[in-house]
């Protein structure tokens, strides 16, 4: 069954068509990655799903509900968690408190929220950093904190916007290993954006390729890296370099 369904979704910024008639669906149990060159509209697509923007055309359904006009805070209540590509920690709060804010979605009690947040942080191997203020963290830790906060809301669908970008290859692969265990947290589908093809190939069941706001391909990672248009638009030399 389709958990998320986009139907001819378009979004315009002034004269720029950032997302153009995009349709796809993500079933439960699927890890889908959206790839495409810089400025292709990937983050905009996530913002449309998360309710930050509303489509100018088309509609979005989540768990059979129309969510095109939903506000971001309502979208979270339905079970859509998201991370920010450009990290947005609550700088003067501790790592634990940052994560507790996600956990408050399901409890009024700070003690319960702390307990839940602690579990999430241990899973992400951030147990040692729990009481540090978010403002001093390194980028790899901030990326994990983005995931922790989203995970603590216990979403059905999690939108991971370039969570391994800026990490070293070993860090990126380590994080990808952890992310493969997301179903343990009751997450039924993942939508990711990543430029690191090794991570995409390792994690994705499906790949959606976006270029200039338009979908130019969709399929398994293996299919996608063989498609000429996709190689042309995006992977090109990078793909050959990696020798996948």
């Amino acid at each position: 069954m389709a958990l998320l369904e986009l139907n001819r979704v378009s979004k315009r910024f002034g004269g720029l068509l950032a997302v153009n008639q995009v349709s796809f669906s993500i079933n439960e149990g699927v890890v889908a990655f959206i790839v495409g060159p810089n400025g292709a509209g990937k983050t905009t697509l996530f913002n449309l799903i998360a309710g930050v923007f509303h489509p100018d055309e088309g509609n979005i359904h989540f768990a059979s509900k129309e969510i095109s006009q939903l506000s971001p805070d309502r979208a979270v209540h339905l079970g859509i968690g998201r991370t920010f590509q450009i990290v947005r920690p609550l700088r003067n709060l501790s790592v634990l408190e940052n994560t507790m804010l996600g956990a408050f979605l399901h409890t009024r009690s700070p003690a319960k929220a702390a307990e839940e947040a602690e579990k999430v942080l241990r899973f992400l191997q951030m147990g040692n950093a729990m009481h540090l203020p978010a403002r001093g963290l390194s980028l790899p830790m901030l990326k994990r904190l983005e995931i922790a906060r989203a995970l603590a809301t216990r979403p059905k669908l999690i939108l991971l916007d370039e969570v391994v970008a800026g990490l070293s290859t070993s860090e990126a692969l380590a994080l990808a290993e952890l992310l493969r265990r997301l179903p343990e947290w009751g997450i039924s589908a993942v939508a990711g954006v990543e430029h690191v093809m090794q991570v995409v190939m390792r994690m994705a069941d499906r790949v959606i390729v976006l270029d200039h706001g338009t979908m130019i391909g969709e399929g398994t990672p293996q299919e996608m890296v063989r498609k000429p248009e996709v190689i042309e638009a995006y992977l090109g030399s990078k793909y050959k370099e990696l020798g996948l």
């Binding site: 998360a50 930050v52 506000s71 971001p72 805070d73 979270v76 209540h77 998201r82 920010f84 947005r88 920690p89 609550l90 700088r91 003067n92 709060l93 408190e97 507790m100 804010l101 996600g102 408050f104 979605l105 409890t107 009024r108 009690s109 700070p110 929220a113 191997q125 951030m126 040692n128 950093a129 540090l132 390194s138 790899p140 830790m141 906060r149 989203a150 603590a152 809301t153 070993s170 860090e171 692969l173 380590a174 290993e177 952890l178």
Partner: protein, 322 residues
């Protein structure tokens, strides 16, 4: 550290309650009244300006609503305490209106909107002479019949106690965490399901009610109010400065700020006469430049850094073995 702060607050209140046993001079009572009144007002402002990080410079609207509510409704024959309550309701109503509009704006635009609303109310009060007495002013009934100065002082101490209790509750509740999340990054707050508009509004309603009570006490002490006094931006900025000097978004900040600012203002007034406003202004500039987190915030920072040095350094997690 939380416990220490709570103890300091309780000690402060006990001293406040005990003061009438030793203080005899009316003048000193007035000074102490101001200290506690502005501690309470600073705490009220702190909920919106500190915890939620929404820099309101229009709280005079609620202060004035309290003072004018008390005066206008009791002139209409309503018992002063009931009139004060109606004044609080009026302030809450204003808060709902003002917040409903201005919370759509962020940052400096929000601040400008709050100033504008308070100014509109001040000008309206000046012109609605039939109700407010206009520029001539309006008489305010005494809330206490006997030993009014001392009773009003104790009422101010009580108001501070109430504001402290509310702050203590907020600072350790989900609501308080939501307010802080909004302050730190509103988009992040939305991304974890915080209804930012509703939270900010709720904080403002509580803040406005406390502020109106303060306005009522103030009016009742002077027995006479004019728009340029109780609805002026001076009131709004003093509330903000008290909280910011002590430490916006901290539990004890407004208390500390009020003790320092109100006693300093009094001393400066006596020594420098007219020049005291200048020195007052300079002090504020110095604080903003050198103590941006306020006194309580800076102290807490220092203490935390000390304990962080004592703790073992944190090691980033290594790659997971797969």
């Amino acid at each position: 550290m939380r416990r220490a702060q709570l103890l300091i607050a309780i000690l402060f209140l006990i001293l406040g309650l005990a003061a009438p046993l030793v203080v005899r001079s009316d003048y000193l009572f007035q000074v102490l009244f101001r200290v506690f009144l502005f501690a309470a007002l600073g705490l009220a402002w702190n909920l919106v300006g500190g915890y939620a990080g929404q820099l309101s410079l229009g709280h005079a609207a609620y202060f004035g609503a309290g003072a004018y509510g008390l005066a206008v409704f009791s002139k209409a024959g309503i018992h002063p305490w009931l009139a004060l309550l109606l004044g609080v309701l009026l302030a809450v109503l204003f808060a709902a209106l003002i917040g409903g509009v201005s919370f759509r704006l962020r940052g400096p635009y929000f601040t400008l909107a709050t100033i504008a609303f308070a100014e509109v109310l001040r000008v309206a009060a000046k012109n609605l002479a039939a109700v407010t007495g206009g520029d001539v002013g309006l008489q305010v009934p005494g809330l206490f019949v006997k030993s009014s100065g001392r009773s009003l002082y104790l009422a101010a101490v009580l108001l501070t106690a109430v504001a402290l209790c509310i702050t203590a509750w907020v600072s350790r509740s989900k609501f308080g965490y939501y307010l802080m999340a909004i302050r730190e990054d509103e988009d992040t707050a939305l991304s974890v399901g915080v209804n930012a508009t509703r939270c900010k509004l709720r904080a403002l309603l509580i803040s406005a009610a406390l502020t109106a009570l303060g306005g009522g006490l103030y009016g009742s002490l002077f027995l006479f109010i004019v728009p340029d006094q109780v609805l002026s931006i001076d009131i709004s900025s003093e509330m903000a400065i008290v909280a910011m000097l002590g430490g916006a978004g901290t539990f004890l900040g407004p208390l500390i700020g009020s003790v320092i600012l109100e006693s300093a203002a009094e001393l400066l007034k006596n020594i420098f006469h007219e020049a005291h406003l200048l020195i007052y202004g300079l002090l504020i500039v110095l604080v903003v430049l050198f103590l941006p987190e306020g006194i309580a915030g800076t102290l807490a920072h220092r203490l935390r850094r000390k304990s962080a040095i004592a703790a073992p350094p944190f090691k980033a997690p290594g790659p997971v073995s797969s």
